[in-house]
Symmetry: C3
Subunit: 679 residues, 3 copies
Amino acid sequence: MINEKLPFIFYGGDYNPDQWPEEVLEEDIRLFKKANINVVTLPVFSWAKLQPSEDIYDFQWLDRIMDKLSENGLYVCLATSTAAQPAWMSKKYPEMLPVDFDGRKRKHGGRVNFCPTSEIYKDMSTKLTRKLAERYKDHPGLLLWHIGNEYGNYCYCDHCEEEFRVWLKKRYGTIENLNKAWNMSFWGHTVYDFDEIVVPSGISEMWRDNGRDRSNFQGISLDYHRFMSEVIFNCYLEEYKIIKEITPDLHVTTNLMGTFKPLDYFKWAEKMDVISWDNYPQLIDPMYVTALRHDLMRGLKDGKPFMLMEQTPSQQNWQPYNGLKRPGVMRLQSYQAVAHGADTVMFFQLRRSIGACEKYHGAVIEHVGHENTRVFRECTKLGEELSILKDKIIDSRIESKVAIVFDWENWWAVELSSGPTIELNYLKQIEKYYKAFHDKNIAIDFIKSEADFSKYDVVIAPLLYMVKKGVADNIENFVENGGTFITTFFSGIVNESDLVTLGGYPGELRKVLGIWVEEIDALFPHMKNSIKVVNKAINLRDEYSCGMLCDILHLEGAEALALYGSDFYKDMPVLTRNKFGKGKAYYIASDPEELFIKDFIAHVCNEKNISSKFENIEGVEITERVKGEYKYTFILNHNEYNVEIKLDKNVYSDLLTGEKKIGTVTINSKDLLILEGSI
Amino acid sequence: MINEKLPFIFYGGDYNPDQWPEEVLEEDIRLFKKANINVVTLPVFSWAKLQPSEDIYDFQWLDRIMDKLSENGLYVCLATSTAAQPAWMSKKYPEMLPVDFDGRKRKHGGRVNFCPTSEIYKDMSTKLTRKLAERYKDHPGLLLWHIGNEYGNYCYCDHCEEEFRVWLKKRYGTIENLNKAWNMSFWGHTVYDFDEIVVPSGISEMWRDNGRDRSNFQGISLDYHRFMSEVIFNCYLEEYKIIKEITPDLHVTTNLMGTFKPLDYFKWAEKMDVISWDNYPQLIDPMYVTALRHDLMRGLKDGKPFMLMEQTPSQQNWQPYNGLKRPGVMRLQSYQAVAHGADTVMFFQLRRSIGACEKYHGAVIEHVGHENTRVFRECTKLGEELSILKDKIIDSRIESKVAIVFDWENWWAVELSSGPTIELNYLKQIEKYYKAFHDKNIAIDFIKSEADFSKYDVVIAPLLYMVKKGVADNIENFVENGGTFITTFFSGIVNESDLVTLGGYPGELRKVLGIWVEEIDALFPHMKNSIKVVNKAINLRDEYSCGMLCDILHLEGAEALALYGSDFYKDMPVLTRNKFGKGKAYYIASDPEELFIKDFIAHVCNEKNISSKFENIEGVEITERVKGEYKYTFILNHNEYNVEIKLDKNVYSDLLTGEKKIGTVTINSKDLLILEGSI
Amino acid sequence: MINEKLPFIFYGGDYNPDQWPEEVLEEDIRLFKKANINVVTLPVFSWAKLQPSEDIYDFQWLDRIMDKLSENGLYVCLATSTAAQPAWMSKKYPEMLPVDFDGRKRKHGGRVNFCPTSEIYKDMSTKLTRKLAERYKDHPGLLLWHIGNEYGNYCYCDHCEEEFRVWLKKRYGTIENLNKAWNMSFWGHTVYDFDEIVVPSGISEMWRDNGRDRSNFQGISLDYHRFMSEVIFNCYLEEYKIIKEITPDLHVTTNLMGTFKPLDYFKWAEKMDVISWDNYPQLIDPMYVTALRHDLMRGLKDGKPFMLMEQTPSQQNWQPYNGLKRPGVMRLQSYQAVAHGADTVMFFQLRRSIGACEKYHGAVIEHVGHENTRVFRECTKLGEELSILKDKIIDSRIESKVAIVFDWENWWAVELSSGPTIELNYLKQIEKYYKAFHDKNIAIDFIKSEADFSKYDVVIAPLLYMVKKGVADNIENFVENGGTFITTFFSGIVNESDLVTLGGYPGELRKVLGIWVEEIDALFPHMKNSIKVVNKAINLRDEYSCGMLCDILHLEGAEALALYGSDFYKDMPVLTRNKFGKGKAYYIASDPEELFIKDFIAHVCNEKNISSKFENIEGVEITERVKGEYKYTFILNHNEYNVEIKLDKNVYSDLLTGEKKIGTVTINSKDLLILEGSI
């Protein structure tokens, strides 16, 4: 439980009363109460107001807001306001401003526009945090802490360069180790002193190619990603430590952004008391991509419930096309978050700004200013429902027998590498395999490659290009003990430094997979090969299409379940299975069409007796959360039409209405059921 | 009349004798006379020749040219040559060189490559202008003045930053006012001193997105557009003042560029004695887009005749595909300018350059150097015709009952805003409505939003996003007194600072329109809705397609003429009409297909008894200019085939042949008629 | 012969033992010998290892490698290692780092990342070269020299600016000459001192447009290309002179890159003892584009055999899609090089790197490290075959009656010019004409425009936009004496300074072509015209399609063979022939479809009795090399299927098997024959 003061699903969101005349606050509180809102997040962007100059702090306006909210029963997720330093500060300390990928020194503007290694930034931000923590540590309304906002500020300035050298010295000890790790003899890049190293950017080793950062030297670029992820994290951590020193019992978080590539969120999660994230699907995104992100966020802290920190009540403003959430969709997406492990439903924003770039971002209170809007009505209805749930769902967990390995360093490495094809896209591969399970209503955990696999029956690691120290052993142990492991083409290729594991692909995974990949063919988009299934014992169709990459491989103990249908490697294996100890390891040597993955995953689930006890209906998502003896089943109908679902034999109670549910139930379009049952 | 010395349509163009050996001048004069040319514009780019170093000016070469031209009956549109400073000046005074959007200090090169706030530029340019004015003020050949050339030089240098702060201080008085106008509490951007403000550019608040400048803070970016438009104008104005001091009776102009976004030409027009502009349609542009630009240029000075300052006799060089104007097209487009209010027909250029980037830009005298070319023959024929017209057309005016509001600040604001859709394009909306009238041969004026509407029957303000002070009153008065006002989705949203008018869209227009827009839906390009017409009294089809944005609106006095055909706002109003005083205000809540606009405008014209007395024939453009008791009717056949036109009952005189015209006339492909009639 | 020590086809490639532990060398030598490799190129990128600091050089490691290789019968193509300076050097001498087109100072990284006018670079690189040359001049394994690597480093720094001014002073003598050559009176760009000139780049006169550099002033940009090509060449030349001083008898080369636009390879060839180049076709490139590049490289030194310095044994890594060379293709492409005049078959690389950006570039020895791979087996088989050939083919020549003019300065000028269409693409036009001959198995030489044409029957100069001094005479002499000359639209337009030849297009070619081009129409991509053949005596179809540009021309002695089929220039000439002296000059006034070129070239070949004595079969390439009394015929089957070829009456000997060949032979897919016959 995030805070026992409020043992319910948090409901509220970002609120910026400092953008409004003071009298608006009273009206807002009236509206918040009407909407059953219980938490507001503030002040996310008020540094300039809190600290008008270096020596002057002004908290009185915030005192009044905090008191007023608290008096009215509203709790505060207190933000440290350090995501955007004041203009006077950028002016006084220009070293605080970052240098971008193209080597351009930035001027003041935007947000999260500071150099993450800036000492003065850290000094200033921690001073403010300390003052806030000391001032409000005993405030009755204080519920939890929100540090910064949507971090992600890579910088390429001279100070970062110096700090990078220090970091490298610590990582590698000697320059010889570094030269080796980065293979610096290539192109004569050998360095004799750490001082010779320059940051990899668009004016040194790197360039941008269709929005993707590419590098001549993957080693240095990979380390720069690690370094940046870490120094940005340190900005968070410095504030975290102060807060925990002053209010050790309160939860501290910062709002993450789902599948956000620049930051290794698994590392960040170690010092986050609770994960929170901002969910902004586009109108046309399929629901499984949102589900995936919820599951990934839940995985960051081993399944612990997370916070949905931001979502829009109606529309966004920064997408190309900012369609309205259709009636019921905001509610449905809110429950989708809860269904995947969220214990909060929070919005950006409670009142819509009058000016600047987010004025067309939806809010609970729209520009019209009153409650007579569709959006406010939907928010109110949801608030009422959530209050019915009381503490029933919070702290419950999702149980899964299937895990997908997700690895930020691997992601970076795959997409920094030059060759064999620009089509390599880590996230797309993850999504493909996730979808197959999700379509069958099978719960999936996301785990890191070093995690304990033993609690799972099936572990999938698509595109496990980089095999870190210990990971191959981890996989072998898992399979030896009966687990089913699945991986794909372009796996087992390099170590943590992006150095190829010599002696034959897939390197350290060769033993557990029982294969040797001799060559990797890259197809042009118009070229296709096929997967001809030869093992008729497994329940697959005769043939599927595949493409992008085609490994040419030899069996070394594994058996071929399917063969290539054409090209000069026709009749060579494309799908293999290796029995290893008590388990099995599968290798998918090319990028298959979706239907193959669907069928193959069905086969694997069958083999491992993994199934949902509910039937699968297109567009209907079913998850379960468990707490004590109770099981909460979420059935969400994302379709444009009503559906009928046959329940299993149990008797359920509809959590929102209290009605008993048995047999076949109808769920309207965009509607849902939360069924309480016993384990 | 621009100058009584030459009471005819000016015919000629840009001429650069300083690019050629002196002996070429004589031959050129022979050819000019042969082609009936009477005006040449020079010296547009001769600063380096006129001022070889800081203390030396050389006008003797120009004296000789001026004299020679004058002796041969050729008049001069005298240019101040300040559009491209000499290389020695850029070298000596590097502060004169601008900084671009990406923060890069430019080197010498190109043209209009100076910082518009540079003091040294202004000092140098006005010195030259004064010398030119004093030297040639009494020259018999001097006809009018041409300052600079195609201004548009936004700059982002430190000096502009300082000047911007001064400008802001003047505009806002206090920093509090500025903070409020820009809503600087958003993202904690509050500034405490004007010195904290930095120019909005690609290294601070802005970025480029498919060629469009986007901003985090529309307020500052909008003001920077205003500031840049003004300081660039000041470069012009400084020269203007000197010239008017020395030759108060001569007209002064600078060549504008039609729908050129960076400069607010309505503001510029206030200090231009006559509007002149450069017309460069592509081979495949439909003729109405050219007509629109002529009408807009005419509107800048309330309908006063303007100058066609540049057009190519044959082809351009800087388009992707520089097709030749087909035989007759140059002539037809020349008359199109006159038909829309031009009193001059001038070319860029008279003699084709031998080198550098415009050497493949067409000219009256081609590289071959003699008169035996199609282009020269067509120019000669046109010159002969124009001389037949004598002073008949000049100073005549176009009378219109319909006006379209065009507003540069609104344009900037619409396209700087983030959301609700990237498809928002001000110019496209203007073009759509213009076309509907133009297709019916109904004259259209372009006016600013603060203009006097009372002389019009119908005023259309598509996408009137920004409603400036007084504009809502202006519209209300107009409608109250019987006018028909038409506006569209995304109107009435913000004030001049891009702050939303709270209390419900369309803000200040809500009263006159009698509606409240609750939500604005943005559709993806593949999504469509429809306009179902429910009021059968108006002459529209049953259903039309619409898309892009869909306002969800409630009637507050207005009636619904059409409803949405689908989506969750099916059957809510999409076309409304509000009776207000003696007039009507229409609101089009979504972006309709062209056919709807055609039919709807037909309905409005019908209602207001606005029609052309000629039948509408596709590809045939008909306009009228009126002077005293005479009416000049232009009938232009843009088609690839001949057409027959039925005239009204009047007897006309063909101005080019003197023939009487009555009944049905045939106009050949690419040919035209100018009919003189009496009012 | 490159070196009499090794009178065979060189077989080997780039080798980087310094990237590996010393013990790998022994294993590599074993594998090299197994694969019949006889030459290795090294050390291409070892400057940092050879010179760890300014005063310390370390050659001992290289001594050991050289000795070991030599002891094992392997020769060395010794590289000077100057393509990538050490990091310590960039740090110590930052002036060595270049400034890019956008004005950004680069940091250390990548390769060929030095300013070509840097004195310190030249000092350092020549010192290293001298040391290498002195140390190894008598080494038994030393076979030839390889300077730098893939030069192409344009720079825009202040030092280049200064040097450019010096270069210009030398070229033009006076500032008046320069002003005239560049037509600087245009846009008032007149300069009064060389110091006023700035480098043309993205922050002065130029911009990038879809990857192509465009310029306001073609004159300065063209000269900057000349200057850059020359100063980069000088980096090569400085090393060349030292090597020739020390080892005058050894061949010196640097690896060129085929149709690489930035460098004028004809100029470079003058100081290259043998041409070498790197051939990297994509999997989907048609074979004729590779053939063209081989022929161009052979042409650089007048037909002298060249070196295939690099090709991949299997796949590349830097293409978007790096498909594997299918079985047999590496062998086939190796022989294709030999068939077009190569005397070497060399790879990049012999052992695949473990890390950095080329780790996924194919190699003879793959990451698996052993010889049991398809790639190694194919390399071994090829090595065996080449050793069978002994010295039979080397030093033989290709004899051609047809030449295509290729001119780098013309290429630059065509694509720098603004107008008449962005579709102008020099290389594409060259390729179109080349293909027509190549498809007929007719040998083609590439020559520069100043070359001696007298040995050819047909000379084609597509898009000969720039006519340098003497070239028109050259062409006239050629035609007068019976030659057939063919050129196209947009030819004869400018002189070497990109100044238009006044008096009528095609300028200096007008006399020999017997035409006057009055206008040049540019069509949009969707527009087409047609070529209606009116002279039925020539063997063409009735009509062909054409587009892009359409010259409107008048006959001045030439006859019209075909007329335009539409538009306002319908029935005007589009294909003309001028009898001039004993020869004929053809002009193709528009860009025709491929079929026209095929038929037209067939007609010309017929007329001149040029033909292959073998039948033409699609996908089969046939060339001949001649030495003394022997003729070597290469028949390469690029098809996916087997073909049958009818030989002429002669008796041939299959060079690889020794078998006699007569009558009809079958060649398998991707296979080839080398037939020895007598002249």
